[in-house]
Every structure is written in C-alpha cells, then in structure tokens.
C-alpha cells in the first residue's frame, strides 16, 4: 500500500511540494455551541446569503443586510471611540477619580486638545464656523511637518535609490581563475538584464507622463514603450485584484461549510 510522503523540510530545501492531505479545519471553539452562539452562527449565514443574493438581482434581502452592516459598523465605531478615546484620554485624565486607577493626579493639559476639538465642531454653526480654522491649521501643520520628511524618504528618495543598479559585475578577487574580470555567470547576467529592464521601464514610463513636448520621434517611441510597461503593471494589479476577490468568496465558503453547515446545521439537527 502506498504511504503518504512526509512533509518536506523547506528550511533545508525550498523546492516544490505537493499539497499535503489536510484534515477539514474546524473551529475548535464551536464544537459545543451555546444558544447565543448558535443564533450568531445562523445570523451570519443568513446575512451571507442575503448579501450574495445580490448576484442574482438587487433585492430587499440584500438591502436589509447592507443597512444592518452600515448601522452596526457605525455603532461599533462610536462605542469604540467612546471607550478608547473619550473616556481614557479626555474624561479620566481630568477626573481621575472616575477611573479605576488609584491615586492618579488630574492632567489639565488635555483641556487644550479638547478645546481644539470642540472648535472643530463649530463648523456646524455658520456664525462660529471661523473658529474651526485654528484646529484645522494645527492639524495640517502637524501632519505636514511630521509626514513630509518620512514620506519623501520612503516614497521618493528610497525609490530613486532603488533604480540605481550596477550594470556590470566583476568577479571577486578570491577566485583563482581570472580574478577581477567581468562576471558573465547566469546569475550576474540575469541581474544585469533585470537592472536594464528596470531602468528602461522607469525612463519610458516617466516619458509617457511628460506633456511639455509632443509625443513624436524619440519621445513618441519611449512613451509608447512606457504604455507597454503600464499595461503590464495594470495586468499584474488586475490579477492580484481577482485573487483578492476570490479569496473573499473562499472565506465565506469556508465559513458556510466548516462553521455553519458543520456546527449550525448538522449540530442542530443531530
């Protein structure tokens, strides 16, 4: 009889491997369900079907589920901000006696951001709307000051640096045979080809977005090549998008099969 192969150790040999037999994953926490858990499970399943019903046609069930989603998200957000920001950062700092923390002293400095926050809300009163400019100026100033150096470094300088690649590799001097000569090995050659491709791609794509000259002659050729690079990038983006969307469907199918069907349906009628 043929026995199953043991899993390959990737740390030693990162090569191909057949998908090993995997037992059906089950949610350990749902093996014995309480009534609220069972209701929650069925609610999830019903709402999943309601949302998926949109694929057939827009209908009342879909709209119902959509409205519940929006309402629950908003409610969750409000409660979270209340417990994570309003209470600990505002109220408990001014009135520490309200919190469970013993012996904490009041921190009246937080009144400054609270006042700034209230000034922001003044936009809703037309006569007082001018007051919102101060906190807005503070936010813009802080965000710009803290973001510009880091964002420029991460998104511009490092990216420019990433396009500067060597086009020639020399053989290291430790080699006995012809040390210091140009390295023509497969690894070095393919790295050089990659670097060339990168440089051509960057230059041609940038030339496509150069609108001060008409796209004729040399600029016409490079911008045309730039379009091909852009198309390849869009294709990669689309392929990844498809994978992401299918993953969402897979997630729902896994829930319906392993949680709802296994525990919610079979578990209920067993």
């Amino acid at each position: 009889m043929r026995t199953s192969r043991p899993p390959r150790d990737f740390r030693r040999s990162p090569r191909h491997s057949w998908l090993w037999h995997t037992p059906m994953p089950t949610s350990d926490t749902l093996t014995t369900l309480t009534s609220p858990q069972m209701i929650g499970l069925w609610l999830q399943a019903v709402l999943t079907f309601a949302i998926l019903s949109f694929l057939i046609k827009d209908n009342a069930f879909y709209k119902f589920a959509e409205h519940i989603f929006v309402g629950v998200s908003a409610g969750y957000g409000v409660v979270l901000v209340w417990h994570e920001a309003v209470l600990p950062i505002m109220l408990y700092r001014i009135f520490p006696q309200l919190s469970a923390e013993q012996g904490a002293l009041p921190d009246y400095w937080v009144i400054v951001p609270i006042v700034l926050g209230l000034m922001m809300i003044s936009r809703f009163v037309p006569k007082l709307a001018w007051m919102s400019r101060w906190p807005m100026a503070f936010v813009v100033g802080y965000a710009a000051g803290s973001s510009i150096p880091s964002v420029v470094q991460a998104n511009i300088l490092q990216q420019i640096q990433g396009t500067i690649k060597p086009l020639v590799y020399y053989r290291p001097c430790v080699l006995v045979e012809s040390p210091g000569a140009i390295d023509l090995s497969w690894v070095a050659t393919s790295t050089v080809l990659n670097s060339l491709l990168l440089i051509v791609g960057v230059v041609c794509t940038l030339s496509y977005f150069y609108f001060s000259l008409e796209h004729k002659r040399m600029l016409g050729v490079t911008s045309r090549i730039g379009i091909w690079f852009l198309m390849a990038a869009f294709g990669a983006g689309f392929g990844n998008t498809v994978m992401a969307r299918i993953s969402l469907l897979i997630g729902r199918v896994q829930f319906l099969l392993y949680d709802w069907w296994q525990h919610g349906v079979i578990g209920l009628f067993r």
Binding site: I56, A154, V253
Partner: protein, 280 residues
C-alpha cells in the same frame, strides 16, 4: 460566426455560478493542486524570524477587520505559530478599530497547540486611535501610548513586556493590513525609527507595496492568500490558506476560460459585422 458572437451576450449570472462552483468543488472533492516554490518575499520573512534568538520580540500589527480575514487570518496564525515554535515573544497591537478582535481570535486558535500563556508568551495591546500619532508615539515609549494592555493590565506587570520600551527592543514588526496602515508604518516606524519591518497584505494591495520590498525597506511581503498558504507550508502546518489555494487555482482557470471566450466572441462579432458591412 454568429453563434460565436453570442458569447458576448452570456448572462453574467452564469459566470457567477461557474465561479461559485469552481470555489466550492475543491472543498467538497479534496482536489489538490501543485503548490509552487515559496516566493523570495515570503521566504525572507520566514528566514528572518527563524534566525531570531529565543525571547526576541515580534510585534504584529493586526490592522484588518473581519472583511480581511480570509487572507490575513491564515497569515497571522502561521506567523504566531512560528513565533511560539521558536519561543519568541509576540506583541499584538493595532491602529484598526476591529484589530483587537482579530488578534484575540488568532491567538485563541493557536495558543493551545504550544501551551502559550497570555502575558508570558504573548500580549494583546489592543487598539489606539490616532494612526500616525500612535506609530510615532511608540518610538518615544510604548508605555506612553499603551499604559495597559487590552484587558487593562499595566504593561509593567506583564513578563512578556519586560525590557520592551521602544522600537529598538522589537526585533521585527509585521503589519498585517487591508488598508493604508503599512504605508504609515513604513514611513513613520521604519524610516523614522529604523525598526525592521515586514508586511502581510491583501493581494489587491500587493503591486503598490512591492516597491518597498524591492528598495530594501521591507524584509519581506506576504501577498494575500498565496502568501498565507506559502507561510503555512513553511511552518509545516497547512491550514485554511493552503486549502483555499486549490479553490483559488480552479477559479483562476475558470476566469481564464471566460476571458478567452470573451475574446473569441469579440473577434467573431467584429468579423460578423465586417462581413455584413461587405455584403451591404
């Protein structure tokens, strides 16, 4: 030719049905597909964590909600699994409101296999509003931003947080995210405080973030469900990510078939129109 041209008028619901079946069939039949070599970006994350000495701190940013679970959750569980295997300390934190629940769910699923204890082997610091301010704040002192963990225990009372004060005490920060959080972590966490970083992202975001890996700002990237499946294989615990990839493969084949049919229909209808124009 006219029959082929009708391919363009296929009701889209047929496509939905075929995609649905393509996803469902591998789960019901146990259909297996060849898993390729782990991508260098995934392998780099695994190798980096694998060489960390026991006791090192791995911070995981759970910046995703239930909508990102199919792709992010398998990654999170696989990374936590590797950390527990290697006796590394895991610190979960998030700037996503629903992140703490995701972290709890991931830890609950894995901790039993390694008898990991809360507060000793791992901790969930929870959510703090502020995004950029939180990331910058950790750089000056994690206890300023998170005086307590999610359960209200002071960090000084948790053995897992012993000696963890700033980014300097974190061996690697892995941000698992469905939104723009990795961009903020890279710009403010990595660039400002030089913390080593890796990210796990949904496939739809991957093309935007590979440039950070290519420029050496990231140790590695886990790309969507594929990255999760690769990581599960690397930690030798194939789970829902690996199982989902078979469905992914079949669904992709179906999509390719429909793309081909659409193109055949397009060229056939064009030829049909030309023929009709010629006859007129």
């Amino acid at each position: 030719m006219q029959t082929l041209a009708r391919l363009l008028t296929i009701d889209r619901r047929w496509i939905f049905l075929f995609i649905g079946l393509a996803v469902l069939v591998p789960f019901l039949t146990g259909l297996k597909f060849l898993q390729g070599t782990p991508t260098p970006a995934t392998l780099a994350v695994f190798n980096y964590i694998d060489q960390l000495p026991p006791g090192s701190v791995v911070a995981i940013g759970f910046d995703y909600g239930p909508a990102g679970m199919p792709e992010m959750h398998p990654m999170a569980m696989a990374i936590i699994r590797q950390c527990f295997q290697r006796h590394l300390r895991v610190v979960a934190l998030t700037i996503h409101p629903q992140g703490p629940l995701m972290a709890e769910a991931a830890f609950n699923r894995v901790r039993g296999d390694y008898k990991a204890k809360y507060g000793q082997d791992y901790v969930n610091l929870g959510f703090k509003p502020g995004g950029q301010a939180v990331i910058l704040g950790i750089g000056s002192g994690i206890r300023n931003v998170y005086p307590t963990d999610m359960r209200g225990t002071p960090l000084s009372a948790l053995p897992v947080m012993r000696g963890v004060r700033t980014y300097d005490d974190i061996a690697i920060l892995i941000d698992l995210a469905t939104g723009n959080a990795p961009g903020a972590w890279i710009a403010f966490g990595h660039q400002r405080f030089k913390v080593k970083m890796a990210i796990g992202i949904t496939a739809v975001m991957a093309t935007d973030f590979y440039v950070y890996y290519q420029t050496g700002q990231l140790v590695g990237i886990l790309n969507g469900m594929r990255g999760a499946a690769e990581y599960e294989n690397l930690v030798k615990h194939p789970d829902v990510g690996v199982l989902g990839m078979s469905s992914q493969s079949v669904a992709h084949l179906v999509i390719i078939v429909f793309v081909l049919l659409g193109n055949i229909g397009y060229f056939a209808s064009r030829a049909h129109r030309r023929k009709q124009g010629g006859m007129a």
